[in-house]
């Protein structure tokens, strides 16, 4: 778990003074060096591995065996990249990802934006753990939405794909109203501070030339803040990895696959193994 890559700050906000933060209980400092490169230092002064990708600085307390996951859309010309900014949530980092994967909550939590009653039905979709990439994917997810994106006028049926490329990161692909055939990319990068506390860094790569940047940020922050109040009140606080007696609904299938995948990787930071 220490060998995974984690987001630790926005690159655009770094300065020489650095930013003190925490990764899995260990204090770290994220800063710019004299050449303008990002550095991450542990509390004991050890230089930690660094990547700068998708607007954020990434680091690890251990020795990552895998390169940071790829988002090919991040290199596609014509997209706008949106640094949404950090939001702290008192919840398990895994809970934050699980909630992001859950479509059924749209009409109830994001009422009149990402969903609306009575359009609460989740149609059939496909979930798999892809062997080659070793990632969780949910595809062909369709949902009626009153205002799917800042660039959407009025209600449309939106198609989604969800992807979990790393234990605390999820990438969402979503129908792009101004450019049919392309996908808007919305990510949730989660920095685990403790097993029940995290900093969440949403980020977006969109085809939208019209909407002012502040509108795009406000739209995504509104959505995430609606989730935050749910996340802080979830019980149990840690993500149970044993499904126990729960009978999954269609909407939960992605969550079931995510938990199974975490368990397979023995990723237990922020999880509980025995039902309590």
């Amino acid at each position: 778990m220490r060998d995974e890559w984690y987001p630790v700050g926005l690159f655009s906000q770094l300065d020489r003074n650095g930013r003190n933060t925490v990764l899995m209980g260990e204090p770290i400092t994220v800063a710019l060096d004299a050449e303008g490169a990002a550095t991450v230092t542990s509390g004991s002064g050890r230089a930690l591995p660094v990547r700068v990708r998708y607007g954020h600085v990434w680091s690890s307390l251990g020795n990552p065996r895998k390169e940071l996951f790829a988002i090919p859309e991040a290199d596609q010309p014509g997209r706008r990249f949106v640094d949404v900014g950090v939001v702290r949530v008192r919840c398990s980092p895994l809970r934050a990802v699980e909630n992001f994967l859950d479509i059924a909550h749209f009409p109830f939590v994001h009422t009149d934006i990402l969903g609306a009653e009575p359009h609460t039905e989740v149609e059939e979709y496909k979930v798999e753990i892809r062997k080659d990439e070793d990632e969780v994917w949910a595809t062909q997810v369709k949902f009626y939405q009153p205002q799917a994106a800042k660039s959407a006028n009025g209600g449309i049926t939106t198609e989604y794909m969800y992807r979990v490329p790393a234990p605390t990161c999820s990438v969402l692909y979503k129908t792009c109203p101004p450019r049919p055939g392309e996908w808007d990319v919305i990510t949730l990068f989660v920095q685990p501070l403790a097993e029940d506390l995290c900093d969440v860094w949403p980020w977006m790569a969109l085809f939208d030339d019209a909407t002012p940047m502040a509108d795009l940020i406000h739209f995504q922050q509104t959505i995430f803040l609606q989730d935050r109040s749910i996340l802080e009140n979830q019980i149990p606080r840690l993500l149970p990895l044993d499904p126990g007696m729960e009978i999954p609904t269609r909407a939960d299938l992605t969550s079931v696959a995510y938990r199974r995948w975490l368990k397979r990787h023995n990723y237990t930071y922020g999880a509980q193994l025995v039902a309590q």
């Binding site: 939001v87 009409p107 900093d199 940047m213 940020i217 922050q221």
Partner: protein
């Protein structure tokens, strides 16, 4: 009328809420407060040297204090929100308008610290927030004894709108509202007003809507 607005700011929400309740249309100019700190950039600092938002612009008039904005909107469109003019009521409105700044500093400071990682002494902010909530609770209990549901009158005034958002969002700063029954009742009365609008963390009262249920057989 143009409002320089941040969607997660309770002070900006006061102005949006007031305008919605009395049917005034605002032109919204979104400000990248977080993470961009646009409120500290040259354009907004020229409008408001204090570097705060909201800012309300109406012709030559530029307002940078949310309580002044509430008074302005009410005076223009719905003077009944300014109170009846009776001396005690006038005084109570002024008292709670001033008090609302303490809520901003304490509950608002705790919320910014806990949610957007702004610096601050969280224990002190929470303690000050709790002290302010106790004072508000006592004030509302006394109003109840006078047969009044709102802070200064039996109808809502700008004082209620000035105090409501930071109180309703206290849990964002780690302060629970469970110990304050009069505050919770007052919050319900405000959330139940016609034309009430929401912000993230503050919900309209849905008394007629049952809790969402998962239908059996949906799996």
């Amino acid at each position: 009328m143009k409002l320089y607005d941040y969607v997660l700011s309770p002070s900006c929400y006061k102005v949006r809420l007031m305008a919605a309740l009395i049917g005034v249309k605002l032109e919204i100019r979104p400000v990248d407060f977080h993470p961009g700190a646009e409120h500290l950039g040259p354009e907004l600092m020229a409008l408001n040297p204090a570097g705060s938002i909201p800012i309300l612009e109406d012709g030559d008039l530029i307002l940078t204090e949310s309580t002044a904005m509430l008074a302005y909107l009410a005076a223009k469109a719905a003077p009944e929100w300014l109170g009846s003019g009776a001396p005690e009521e006038t005084a109570r409105i002024q008292q709670w308008l001033s008090f609302s700044h303490r809520l901003t500093a304490s509950l608002g400071g705790a919320r910014l610290h806990e949610m957007l990682l702004r610096p601050g002494d969280i224990a002190a902010l929470q303690a000050q927030g709790i002290a302010a909530l106790r004072e508000l609770e006592a004030g509302l209990v006394e109003q109840g004894l006078r047969g009044m549901r709102f802070l200064a009158s039996d109808r809502p005034t700008i004082a209620d709108i000035a105090c409501f958002p930071y109180v309703a969002l206290a849990p964002d700063g780690g302060i629970l509202l469970d110990p304050y029954p009069a505050i919770r009742l007052w919050s319900r009365a405000i959330r139940g007003l016609d034309d009430f609008i929401e912000m993230p963390g503050i919900h309209r009262l849905h008394e007629l809507n049952p809790e969402p249920q998962i239908e059996p057989g949906a799996a």
